[in-house]
């Protein structure tokens, strides 16, 4: 009899596993691959990002826009590969925070947590503003006599209500709505792009790559903005507890969403740059709209606006979903107050975290618009803060990965090269971008510095009191181990192994 048959026939008792996971309370292993993919896709919001980010990239990178888009795709892919070193090995809801804590220790973990929370929070605000911006544009196009500000406020209020309901009801609802919205918007925009491409016809290659007006700062800054078009791809990792077969489905969702978004952005970038060149080199707040009306496709563009507006809302939902899972993980690790780790008894959603995260995220954009600030101006500042948060978190995770792999004895040369190149490229681009924006007088730089100082002070203050083990993840429970006998002192509450079954007294 082989060792394997012997082990199956007469399993030896394995006592190193607990009866239930430290992250119990969420709806475990119920979210399928499509919904996990939807979470990443919605957080990326390719429809909204292709319309907004490409313009911002073109502003900085000029003639190198398409090349910068390709560069950003490659860098993001390296980051995705590195993040997957973690997602393939264990499931967590703290995502980047948990990964950095496991590779670099408590302080770096908390710094990463703060950075990614800033990233998710500000991108949510950005997406709500963007959604309202496009909704307003659409309404004023139909009824030009209406005043813009009240419409924007109304749109924001509706977005806030939808966001709150979907967050409490659970991710399956939110991710499905988000996936449908994204698919429809991306299809609409793709069709519009293809029709535009046909109408524009072949253009001179020099228009797509004209290196004369390209500077290092332009490329680096453009790359940072282009990367912000991808951020959120890692957010499906926050569903580690809730996803079915998470160690298989989450890495797949992360890589696929980056690949699909990359291809889409290259097409969008090419069309918009080629189109701008064809109509005389403008960058406006709604280049896609302008192009469409110039080429006689206004009605279509109006439909695409609906797509972009809903895509903004879907992005806010997905990013806030990710944010609440990280806050939940911080609470379960004992870093944040325990109340933030509370889950809804029926919907099994982290309502404790939702209650603190949702109000500021929905109220800030309303305050911004009510104060009379143009959403577009506010969005540039907010995007800078958000981009800094994401990129700092990515850099820390890329540094953490090789150390984590070495600690568990599974380091390989390839994984180190990928992680180090990603960290170096991100650090370089972010530094150059922030320096250039500071010179250009973008107040977002100083706000970012202020937020970083506050986060550092908070972490220092929190570390003065002793912290237990951080970076807790969704450990396999004894019931999933052949011969598994739960560790004493951690009896299950019926969440994992025993409920509805045929329990004997399991004292061995």
């Amino acid at each position: 009899m082989s060792a394997l048959e012997e082990a199956i026939e007469r399993p030896e008792a394995v006592r190193s596993f607990a009866a239930r996971s430290p992250l119990h309370g969420l709806d475990r292993h119920t979210v399928g691959f499509a919904d996990v993919l939807a979470q990443s896709v919605a957080a990326i919001a390719p429809a909204a990002a292709s319309a907004m980010a490409v313009l911002m990239v073109a502003d900085l990178a000029g003639g190198a826009t398409v090349l910068v888009m390709a560069l950003a795709t490659i860098i993001t892919f390296l980051v995705a590969r590195t993040i997957n070193q973690f997602t393939r090995r264990f499931a967590a809801s703290g995502s980047l925070y948990t990964y950095a804590a496991r590779g670099l220790g408590t302080t770096a973990g908390l710094a990463t947590g703060a950075a990614i929370v800033v990233g998710y929070a500000f991108i949510s605000v950005f997406a709500l503003l963007g959604g309202a911006h496009y909704a307003t544009m659409l309404v004023t196009r139909l009824w030009p006599q209406l005043p813009a500000t009240p419409i924007a406020l109304g749109a924001l209020a509706i977005e806030a209500a939808v966001l709150a309901i979907v967050l409490v009801r659970g991710i399956r609802l939110s991710s499905r709505v988000a996936l449908v919205v994204e698919l429809v918007s991306v299809a609409l925009i793709l069709l519009l792009l293809i029709v535009l491409l046909v109408q524009i016809g072949p253009i001179h290659p020099a228009a797509i790559f004209s290196p004369d007006d390209v500077s290092v700062a332009g490329v680096a800054g453009g790359a940072v903005l282009a990367i912000t078009a991808f951020v959120g791809f890692e957010s499906s990792a926050t569903l580690g507890v809730e996803a079915r077969s998470p160690l298989k489905n989450i890495p797949r969702a992360i890589v696929w969403s980056v690949g699909v978004a990359g291809v889409f952005y290259l097409i969008a970038g090419y069309t918009q740059i080629a189109g701008a060149d064809a109509i005389g080199g403008t960058t406006s707040v709604a280049l896609l709209d302008e192009l469409a009306s110039r080429f006689g496709l206004s009605a279509w563009a109006a439909v695409a606006d609906v797509g972009i507006a809903t895509s903004g809302l879907a992005c806010a939902i997905a990013s806030t979903t990710a944010l609440t899972r990280i806050v939940f993980a911080l609470a379960r690790d004992g870093v944040a107050p325990a109340e933030l780790g509370r889950t809804h008894r029926r919907h099994r959603t982290p309502v404790g975290a939702i209650a603190v995260a949702a109000p500021p995220i929905t109220l800030v954009p309303i305050a911004v618009v009510a104060a009379g600030v143009s959403p577009w101006d506010a969005m540039r500042v907010i995007l800078l803060i958000s981009a800094s948060g994401y990129i700092v978190a990515y850099v820390l995770v890329c540094i953490a990965a090789p150390l984590f792999l070495r600690r568990i004895g599974e380091v390989t040369a390839g994984s180190v090269i990928v992680a180090v190149s990603a960290a170096a490229a991100l650090t370089g681009c972010l530094t150059v971008y922030l320096a250039a924006e500071a010179t250009a007088g973008n107040p977002g730089v100083w706000l970012t510095v202020g937020i970083a100082v506050i986060a550092a002070a908070l972490i220092r203050w929190r570390r003065r009191a002793p912290l237990g083990e951080v970076g807790r993840y969704d450990e396999p429970v004894a019931a999933h181990v052949l011969g598994g006998v739960a560790r004493s002192g951690s009896a299950g509450d019926g969440n994992g192994s025993a409920h509805g079954g045929e329990p004997g007294d399991a004292d061995g």
Binding site: S2, A3, L4, E5, E6, A7, I8, E9, P11, E12, V14, S16, F17, A18, G32, R88, R89, F90, R102, R244, S245, L247, K248, R407, I408, G409, E410, T412, G414, E475, P476, A479, H480, V481, L482, G483, G484, D493, G494, S497, A498, H499, G500, G501, E502, P503, G504, D505, A506, D507
Partner: protein
Amino acid sequence: MTGGDGVSISARQPTAIHSALSMLEAVAAMGAGVTARQLAEHLGMPRATTYRLLNLLVQDEYLVRTPDLTGFALGTKVALLAGSIAVERVPRAARDVLERTRASARGGIHLVLYRDGRVVIADEDPDFPLSNRLGLQHEPTRYALGLLPLVVRGEVVRGEHVADDLVTELREQGVIRTRDGQRGCLVAPITDASGALAGALSYSGPRRYIDESDSIAVSVLAAARELGPLLT
């Protein structure tokens, strides 16, 4: 358990399957907690290949990582490899009995058969599925359905799960009951014409239904008696 994932095997993969089985054998031989590096050395496999293979086996839940993430243990899913998932045909008359019993019970009614010392799930309650099918098949003595054959044979093993009072309970009441927290389980034997144990019918649900009234015991017992001639 995964479900609905398509399985596709290309021409190159038989070697990979061989490696995967060797890996499972090695984990079984070296015991829970063995590290990736130890496995690579033991199997003489390149390290990068070993890590990739281990991650795939963990993704598919044949292996699980120990809580500190450095070691590996066999997952309950490897039990599937032993071919323990037998398909049993339950005659229509027996299914009617099950349906009737389920309609009146507030909880799960499951039918199992005992085959060559193994517990085979013949008809699981679709509305209240078993929480741990694999556990029942591979650590049967942790569960009332798995305990019953031992109780019937009177094999009371000291330090094991079978207690004297279960033997008494079976003799006097015709059923055995187990409890765990707020949940409980009641099992009635199904016997063939000669009186030998062939299977069992179980009720699982809230503990108070089992403790506070005899009506569940009466209906499960009656259904089990009716099922005997239909199944054997």
